[in-house]
């Protein structure tokens, strides 16, 4: 067993392994602490951008699956099954290795963007399920009422169905947002300099695996917890008085 902690490892220069006096590097030299924070930034960037992609495409596909048009329902269903039944890591490889070889124009796109799209589309399949379930949980009378007062189908969705459906699915969307932070860890496989990549490389270079892993795990905890709090604030803000457990 490792007998003593050695937290000084984070103050070490990443090039020569010397302990830097103020723990942060200066100029061109960086410490492991600098690297850790930059890796945290990459994790948050990948996760938050992927969340945007996932919510936009997932909502669109979820809505398609509830429309009175068989062709559109099929597109939504097919999208969901496709992105739900392939492991995330394999999807990341598809976007990173396969698609740029088949479509040469994709080669100019940085791998960071490809990972964001991969993680975003993977998560969109799960969000599409939630959006569909949210819309279908509303009484059908609401849809008919919207149409009966002369709204078009689009207006019925915009003003009647979606405002309630999205409020209903805030809790599952919250856990999906926390999942996306965790799932962003697969980006290590295509050499994005995020937390898991940092954990693996810093462990190898410093041999202080436990300290490195503890710091990384702590930052994952902190990120997911922060998302959870933000989602609770949002949920509280958008409550409809008298409904859905509002005070």
């Amino acid at each position: 067993m490792v007998s003593t902690w050695e937290w000084q490892v984070f103050c070490k220069n990443t090039i020569d392994g010397e302990v830097m006096p103020r723990c942060f590097g200066n100029g061109g030299e960086i410490t492991y602490l600098d690297w850790l924070f930059s890796a945290w930034g990459w994790t948050l960037s990948v996760a938050l951008l992927a969340m945007v992609v996932a919510i936009v495409t997932g909502s669109l596909m979820g809505i398609l699956r509830t429309l009175p048009h068989k062709g559109l329902v099929f597109i939504g269903d097919a999208w969901t099954e496709l992105f739900r039944n392939i492991p995330l890591l394999v999807q990341v490889f598809l976007w990173y290795h396969v698609l740029p070889s088949l479509f040469l124009s994709l080669r100019a796109i940085p791998s960071f963007i490809l990972v964001v799209v991969a993680l975003g589309f993977f998560t969109s399949a799960r969000i599409s399920e939630q959006v569909r379930a949210g819309i279908q949980s509303l009484p059908t009378g609401q849809r008919y009422a919207g149409l009966a007062v002369g709204f078009t189908l689009a207006q019925t969705y915009r003003y009647v169905l979606l405002p309630m459906a999205f409020r209903i699915i805030i809790p599952p969307l919250t856990s999906e947002s926390m999942n996306i932070i965790k799932n962003s860890s697969v980006a290590f496989a295509v050499s994005i300099a995020e937390l898991t990549m940092f954990a693996m490389q810093a462990q190898e270079e410093t041999s202080r695996g436990i300290e490195v892993y503890l710091a990384v795990t702590g930052l994952y905890f902190l990120s997911a917890f922060a998302i959870n709090r933000i989602a609770m604030v949002i949920e509280h803000r958008v409550q409809v008085p008298g409904l859905l457990g509002a005070k």
Binding site: I86, S184, V186, Y213
Partner: protein, 221 residues
């Protein structure tokens, strides 16, 4: 570039892919059985109402559920050799990791399943003189399993997909099999594409099965 699958033959499948597929299935099966057993135990602890049992079980479940699986795989691969004092292969380490990790997820499902059984049935069990163990074993758990069977199976499909993450410690699973084949024949694009098709076919068929099972169980209930 154009795709070329001419390298694909039985020799390649038998020498690279089957070994990986076998390990992926083995890992899924062991982690499912072990995970459900350990998960059921954790669920019973959490529902025991005794703080010294509830708190450790809750801490176990919540901790593992808030860490990315890749990090858990790395943690175990680092810690197990330190604890037992000798190196451990990536495959065995993966099997231990997945069993311990999946138990946290299965335990949440089993907890919901146990809670789905009406309280009156537990009281009825006690009333006819059964002990706690008998009530659980003969009345509550069989129904909890049956009610939760579709959810347990869905979690197992997710588990099968997650086995690809053993990539992080270099264990030889289905994905690794395709990757090694791709390197050997210098056809990585085709093999990654094939890997995604194989994963899709397996997971899609399983989820269709779960959907049919769900309908059957809904009728029984």
């Amino acid at each position: 570039m154009t795709l070329d699958f001419s390298f694909l033959d039985w020799h390649l499948v038998s020498s690279f892919i089957l070994k990986g597929l076998g390990f992926s299935f083995q890992l899924t099966l062991i982690a499912m059985l072990g995970g459900i057993a350990l998960g059921t135990l954790l669920a019973l602890l959490r529902l025991s109402g005794k703080p010294w049992l509830v708190l450790p079980a809750a801490a176990y479940v919540n901790t593992l559920r808030s860490i990315p699986l890749v990090m858990v795989i790395l943690w175990f691969f680092l810690l197990i050799p330190l604890l037992i004092g000798r190196p451990m292969g990536a495959e065995l380490s993966a099997i231990i990791t997945f069993t311990v990790f999946e138990a946290a997820y299965y335990s949440e499902i089993m907890r919901a399943g146990i809670q789905s059984v009406p309280k009156g049935q537990v009281h009825a069990g006690y009333a006819v003189g059964m002990t706690y163990g008998q009530t659980m074993q003969l009345i509550v758990l069989p129904q909890a399993f049956r009610n939760m069977l579709p959810v347990l199976m869905t979690q197992t499909i997710i588990l099968f997909q997650d086995t690809s993450l053993v990539y992080a410690i270099g264990a030889y699973d289905l994905l690794k099999g395709f990757e090694v084949a791709g390197k050997n024949f210098n056809r990585p694009v085709e093999t990654y594409l094939l890997a995604s098709i194989v994963y899709f076919v397996i997971c899609f068929s399983l989820s269709m099965l779960v959907r049919r099972l769900q309908k059957k169980i809904a009728i029984i209930r």
